[in-house]
Symmetry: C2
Subunit: 345 residues, 2 copies
């Protein structure tokens, strides 16, 4: 449910090349509520960069968002761009604090659409507890972009009890997922392909930093690795982990949570849910001794009510991810090669 | 003069949508020399974000680069993207340290061109003393982008003696420019319009952080404000300063340095050099008592050999920039409205 902010009165309805000029039109676009909307002391200084104070171990992350369409069930590219970078920082065991926000707008984009995206950015920032402290706006000619591309880069303070690293992953560790797989990818696919389901399948994009913080405060360095399985889905992320740790991963199909409708849609579309992009879930590799408690705590949180232990790290079959299927067979889950669904984030 | 790195052997000549999938093709693209090329301990961790250690006052800046064409006399979008963010940090009085690097590639881009851009990024980083610690690569369909868009965000440590702020600008302060105006904009224009000059007009893009550091170490808080007059040129930046400080600016035309050929090109094209974009120069507003010494020191540096005092801050005509022309007249230099030259950076 998106709260609304009234659009400022402006004397233009569409973005033109001039809005990227650095001149009067750029100033008009920014003054027209953008600075007011995203207001904070650091942004208000309006220098070439923002001055921030940081102490100690810091995480720094960047992501460009090119999702098409820019509006999709339950969300849009603006909220996605905030949550995406917030989550990348959370996956580092960091408390996200500051974001940069950079737009590449296509000439002809309506001010109305731009405003809706901006409002979503505002609320997503508030929800995640971050603020936009510096930004940039460029405009390209019609046909040289696609409505809106957004880059967010983020800075977060690494939690003193966090020790997230590939190096900490050991055989016997448990693999935990925080929620249903494939939801975001299928939500986007349904809009693009004009598919109708009984109820709308909605993107699950959400900020995960609050849940991660709760888990790290409780379990500290028993949390070995955190990853959000976005592009390439669970399959890509697990294959990367197996490759980089030289360990194997066993995956238990029956434990992998998935919404019934999403599962049905995957069947219709011939998609393997393990390869579909996610936005609102994360994978944890944790000490197996605390895995049950970890899942129990995660399930008490709104972001983790469908959490499950879905696999374990093994010495056997190094660099390979093996799925134990619900009907008893086994198969290798390979790294996806190309693009199942382009421009999903 | 661009140093070369041999292109890695890859089994593809063009970027395809699959290279943005997060799967095997993305890994192939990155493994194919990208990680080797930009190698450093922080990037090598390959997590969702980089872990860095920071203490104290820090500057954070972002910029997206959409320049067309991506190759232009003396440089390309890769070097520009590094220097642009390095310079934004330098303008904060900061020592640039870490960059993020995010690509939006258009399907069909040749691997050769992408490689040339990457190599330029590598050398620009080495020259400026920064390293790329985190990144992202997205690919959009042909016709939904334009070869390469790059976002760089940067983090720098503010120099302990720096105190750069609009609030420090006072009437009687001197306005110093570090070098010739309008060079970058005219270099780009000449390629786009196929103009021929006696000698090539080359972009002046360069990292300014070393020069700024030398100046701040010598003159400390007598340096009140630093700005690089990129999009919108000197006119836009000075108008912003006048607007935000509620002070006036007097500009002495006869002191404004400009290359003879660039000046000629501006005349032919009907462009006012004050509105043409720059990349390799910066404006300083300094205590008038040290202005002469400041310019003398600047002239000893390779980045500042054409430095001049070109104006002063005044109480008269608040929020207005007034040019005293070489032939004795006066005129208001207004904020540019729209785009004189789109996609100049």
């Amino acid at each position: 449910m998106q709260l609304q902010c009234p659009m400022p009165k402006v004397d233009f309805e569409m973005i033109t090349l001039g809005h990227g000029s650095g001149g009067l039109l750029t100033n008009k676009l920014l003054a027209s509520g953008v600075f007011d909307l995203l207001k904070n002391d650091l942004l208000d200084e309006r220098h070439d960069g923002a001055f921030i104070n940081l102490q100690g171990k810091t995480a720094f992350s960047t992501d460009s968002f090119v999702i098409s369409p820019i509006f999709f069930p339950n969300s849009n590219i603006g909220e996605l761009a905030v949550n995406g970078t917030v989550n990348d920082l959370a996956m580092c065991g960091a408390i996200p604090r500051y974001l940069s926000l950079s737009f590449i707008l296509e000439e002809g984009l309506s001010m109305q659409e731009f405003w809706e995206v901006l409002v979503s950015i505002k609320f997503a920032c508030e929800k995640a507890g971050v603020c936009v402290v510096t930004g940039d706006t460029k405009v390209v000619e019609k046909g040289k972009g696609d409505k809106i591309f957004i880059n967010t880069s983020g800075i977060g303070t690494v939690h003193p009890q966090a020790n997230i690293s590939l190096k900490n992953v050991n055989a016997e560790d448990s693999l935990v997922i925080s929620g249903n797989v494939a939801t975001h990818g299928i939500a986007i696919m349904s809009v693009r392909e004009g598919l109708q389901f009984d109820t709308d399948i909605q993107s699950d994009t959400q900020a995960l930093n609050s849940a991660v913080l709760t888990l790290i405060e409780k379990f500290g360095n028993d949390v070995h690795l955190l990853k959000d399985p976005t592009r390439g889905g669970v399959a890509a992320v697990l294959n990367e982990i197996a490759r980089d740790t030289h360990l194997g991963i066993d995956l238990f199909q029956k434990n992998i949570p998935i919404d019934e409708q999403v599962e049905g849609a995957c069947e219709i579309l011939g998609l393997d849910p393990l390869y579909v992009a996610n936005e609102g879930i994360f994978l944890s590799i944790v000490n197996s001794e605390i895995a049950e408690d970890y899942v129990q705590l995660l399930r008490t949180l709104p972001e983790g009510k469908n959490a499950q232990i879905i696999g374990k790290i093994v010495d056997a079959h190094p660099k390979q991810v093996i799925l134990q299927s619900s009907i008893g067979g086994k198969r290798v889950v390979n790294m996806p090669v190309g693009e199942q669904l382009p421009r999903i984030c």
